[in-house]
Amino acid sequence: MVARVPVRQGLFVDADPPLLLGGRCRSCGRPHFARQENCPYCSSAHTEDDAFSGPGRLWAHTAVTAAPPGYQGEVPYGFGVVELPVGLRVVGRLTEADPSRLSIGRLMDLVVVPLHVDDEGRHVVTYAFAPEAI
């Protein structure tokens, strides 16, 4: 079993099914991702941990065809925004790299995918969205 390490601590729970780790404002009630101390919408300092699950609906999608700065993984890869039931639109990778195979509104599962292998031989993983099997 290859060891796995999240691309950033505190961003998601690497479980089946995974969860995104965000927060919720105790003043205005709105959710945010990634976790912040202060509410990004109303600036209240009274926020608490919250976790968000899929599936969500695809809101926008494309594919990245050339490696952007600092990226060591494979290209092309899918890239998009998924609207989660909690009312958050989340930017993330998509497991489908062919935009013609996706369409807006498609049901997308929250998943965790490998990005690349680090210097210690571990799989660096991140959250992503995968089209739900029809």
């Binding site: 950033r8 709105r30 494309t62 600092g70």
Partner: protein, 372 residues
């Protein structure tokens, strides 16, 4: 206040020319037009995003024109608009009489590494700037009936207009089929639908007195409101809420009010066309058309050089390329020339009211309204 003089170093790739040399060329030209010499301006603001520490000092040092306050200003693609706002504020307050504003940039080809993103975002492939443009383009297609043919039409229009601009990087007209035939960078955006980061400089001398005939009626900068996921602020997440007013609209509304004009009064516009869809979104955000009306406005021909409201007569960033710090001031240089009747073959006949729009990382949006 007035624009006393403008100057430009052509936008393009200039491997043999240093950044201070490009800046100095633009500054020299603007000061010469304004008939202002060393000591004739009381402050200088230098717009740049990538040039590094004290770039403004390097430019003015190369000219032997230091001594006054020199402040570098960074606001992403809106850096030049931010510098202009600060200069205009200094004059409007009565603190200064004449202020030099200039922008310089020397950028490599391709996607630029930006300290805006966290290292983990780069590692996860989320620092893909054109992909955010592509998602925004797709949303515009979804909400406004914009098609890939419309995106290609924007490129055809701007490249045709840029063919007449000696300061542009690309000076040849293109056909829609060739735009759609260029490689896909991020669906729906093809390579030719994206502007090229490049090099260049632009300078503007602002003055309290009124002699030249071109006035700055408003120079507004606004940052974004939270909540929108595909704003230039590039958040990791946003709310399922369509009511968040984009920074370009905030800036435009404030600028219209300050200038006492409305979109219906405009004769010519230079707007941010970082990608072809960004120009169409600009039509809607700047209220040049009703929400959802950008495709129709483009199709009507109104925004072409011969139309009712030409947009990007300079050829836009799609023709000029985008040297970040210089791009917003480059728009102002173009519009000042248009208002003076110096637009040559791309002159908008009788132009009296002009608007320049930029929006960039932060997110910051700048809107400048010029009149004669």
């Amino acid at each position: 206040m007035e624009v006393a003089g403008v100057g430009l170093h052509p936008f393009g790739r200039h491997p043999g020319t240093s950044l201070p040399a490009m800046g100095a060329a633009a500054v020299r030209a603007a000061l010469a037009e304004a008939e202002v010499g060393r000591g004739g301006f009381q402050a200088a603001f230098c717009a740049t995003a990538y040039a590094g520490v004290a770039s403004g000092h390097k430019v003015l040092g190369a000219l032997g024109m230091t001594g006054m306050p020199i402040v570098d200003v960074e606001a992403g693609c809106a850096s030049g608009a931010a510098a202009l706002m600060l200069a205009a504020s200094a004059i409007a307050s009565g603190q200064r009489d004449t202020v030099l504003v200039f922008g310089v940039e020397k950028m490599p080809k391709g996607i630029i590494r930006s300290s805006f993103f966290d290292p983990w975002q780069e590692e996860a492939g989320l620092a893909a700037t054109p992909a955010y443009f592509a998602l925004r383009a797709q949303r515009l297609m979804e909400t406004s009936g914009v098609t890939k043919d419309h995106l290609a039409s924007v490129v055809v229009k701007n490249r045709a207009q840029g063919a007449g601009n000696p300061d542009a990087m690309f000076r040849s007209a293109v056909a829609a089929a060739d735009v759609l035939g260029s490689r896909v960078v991020c669906e729906p955006l093809h390579l030719w639908m994206l502007c090229s980061p490049n090099e260049g400089a632009a300078a503007v001398v602002l003055r309290a007195a009124r002699r030249s005939g071109v006035r700055v009626d408003s120079a507004v900068l606004r940052s974004h409101l939270p909540g929108a996921v595909l704003s230039e602020s590039t958040p990791l997440a946003g709310l399922a809420d369509e009511s968040v007013v984009p920074p370009s609209t905030l800036a435009a509304d404030a600028a219209y009010e300050e200038a006492g004009v409305g979109p219906e009064d405009l004769d010519v516009v230079e707007c941010q066309d970082t990608d072809a869809a960004r120009e169409l979104l600009g039509y809607e955000e700047l209220r040049l058309c009703p929400p959802g009306g950008s495709a129709e406005l483009l199709e009507s021909g109104a925004t072409a050089l011969a139309g009712r409201l030409p947009v990007n007569p300079s050829g836009g960033l799609l023709s000029k390329g985008e040297p970040l710090g210089a791009s917003a001031l480059g728009q102002v240089v173009e519009l000042v020339r248009q208002l003076r009747g110096q637009g040559a073959e791309r002159q908008v006949p009788g132009a009296r009211v002009a608007l320049a729009h930029t929006v960039g990382r932060g997110a910051n949006a700048g809107v400048v309204i010029l009149t004669r």
